[in-house]
Amino acid sequence: MQIPQPVWLLLGLSPLARLIQSGISGGLGANPIEYIIRFSGDWALWLLLISLSISPIARLPGCRGVIRLRRLAGLFCFFYATLHLCSYLVLDKYFDWFDIGRDLRKRPYITVGFSTFLLLLPLAVTSSKGWIKRLGRHWGTLHTLVYPAAILAICHYFLMTKADWRLPALHALLLALLLGWRWRRNIFSPLPG
């Protein structure tokens, strides 16, 4: 089941393609900016959870190969998080730095979302082979930042929610399972999955 890399690349870009296609056909609803922000936020979170699922899946019999998709999933998470951030900065706030600064200070979900992004940033930057070599054993330590990042992303989701907690709770449950799996494994092996 060796699927070539470009296929995964196209698959990762397909949500963006769908978004653009909906935009062209007027399918973004009455508040397109909100739609784009939520769409990109959803995909950033889903790809983060997918990245975290890859190590557990790779332990299943015959699934070792999926491990090579972990970096791509992580990078696509960062790609949609960047799209999410840019939609906020450009479409929602249109570079109104004063308002953006005030949001960062006064809107907890923005503060937390931004912190999440800051945690993801060094992970994306150091994902290349060169950086893996350069950082050596510190690379793994650095990349444990993905756990607090995922927890903060879920907090961000909860904080932006008004009253219907079902979807953020479902995502929190998935993350709890993924972290729980690692916690059990770490009893035997200290290396981050």
């Binding site: 609803g29 009455a30 508040n31 900016i33 909100e34 479409l91 706030k93 249109y94 308002d99 005030r102 949001d103 006064k106 809107r107 907890p108 979900y109 904080l159 932006m160 008004k162 009253a163 219907d164 079902r166």
Partner: protein, 316 residues
């Protein structure tokens, strides 16, 4: 004198076209009502027309606005109506779960003439007017909507509030077996809202039965909803089945859910911040750049006097 309620008007003078629209129902129900119709010779009390049907006999231009009206498509597809789902587009999708016919409204509490009314009987004496209002949601988006309705004042006075009445409480229909949102514990159902009596009697406060020249779509609060244009949208309670005049401030749903975020008054106020939304600006649906939010949603000259001497940052 568009704001004055005229007790001299009789049902015959003012019965809006809305009652004549469903001929079949008309015939069915007049057979039932039989004697009543023969006796009165007035417009028989039949139910409201179907959602989306045109309304005629509407006095146009009672309140106008020099701002472009939001397209009907947006106003009817992008709604908050948690009874029908917490997403913006779910209420339109599940709108037909809300049964608006038959519909009754209970009027009770501090009134001399309490009772349970069929919608048609409730609406009969009130001539319909079109009023174009801004609608500002607490989520920092806004629309301009041509409502069709009548001042709440006229209706309340009909039932003679007692000297003790100081507040008006409203309740939305509670039907968890049909309304998908009410099967979830998102809010403490049924949805409740309330106004101080002077706010309820203010000439800008209306009960709406239509918008854009037509009967209200279900997701917009059919068959009867409140519209209070200087308050955040959640105050304008939808699909009303109960109106209670009370001595004490009634509990209200979003205020109960998060008292630090949503006040009882919920007047549109760019100076009072919210932990999720920057209230100093708003996105008018259809526009790109956010525009500044106006105090009392632009109705300051009409309503600011209601709150004289009150600290609006405390009574938000």
């Amino acid at each position: 004198m568009p704001f004055r309620w005229n007790p001299e008007l009789t049902a015959m003078d003012v019965t809006p076209e809305i009652f004549f629209q469903q001929r079949r129902q008309f015939i069915q129900q007049s057979a039932l009502l039989g004697a009543g119709v023969a006796l009165g010779g007035i417009a028989p009390a039949v139910s409201l027309a179907e959602p989306g049907e045109p309304l005629t006999n509407v006095q146009k231009g009672v309140v106008t606005l020099d701002e472009p009206v939001t397209p009907f498509k947006d106003a009817s597809s992008y709604t908050n109506f948690y009874e029908l789902g917490s997403g913006k587009e779910e209420p339109a999708r599940y709108g037909d779960r809300l049964q608006t016919d038959p519909w009754h409204v209970v009027i009770e509490g501090e009134v001399n003439r309490p009772g349970r009314w069929s919608l048609a009987d409730l609406l009969k004496p009130h001539p319909l007017e079109e009023r174009v209002y801004r609608l500002r949601c607490v989520e920092a988006w806004s629309m301009v909507i041509p409502w069709i309705g009548f001042p709440l004042k006229g209706l309340l006075e009909r039932f003679e509030p007692t000297a003790k009445a100081r507040y008006v409480a409203f309740e939305t229909i509670h039907d968890p077996s049909r309304l998908p949102g009410q099967a979830q514990n998102m809010l403490d159902w049924p949805y409740r809202e309330g106004l101080r009596l002077d706010e309820a009697l203010h000439p800008l406060t209306i009960l709406a039965v239509g918008m854009y020249g037509r009967v209200l779509p279900n997701q917009n609060g059919a068959p009867l909803r409140l519209v209070v244009p200087w308050k955040y949208g959640f105050k304008s309670i939808k699909s009303i089945v109960r109106i209670t005049l009370t001595e004490n401030q009634p509990p209200t749903s979003w205020n109960q859910q998060a008292p630090t975020e949503y006040g009882f008054y919920a007047n549109v106020n760019p100076a009072v911040d919210h932990p999720r939304w920057d209230q100093s600006k708003e996105r008018r649906i259809g526009e790109f750049l956010r525009r500044p939010t106006l105090p009392f949603n632009g109705y300051q000259t009409q309503v600011a006097s209601l709150y004289q001497g009150m600290d609006l940052s405390k009574n938000f």
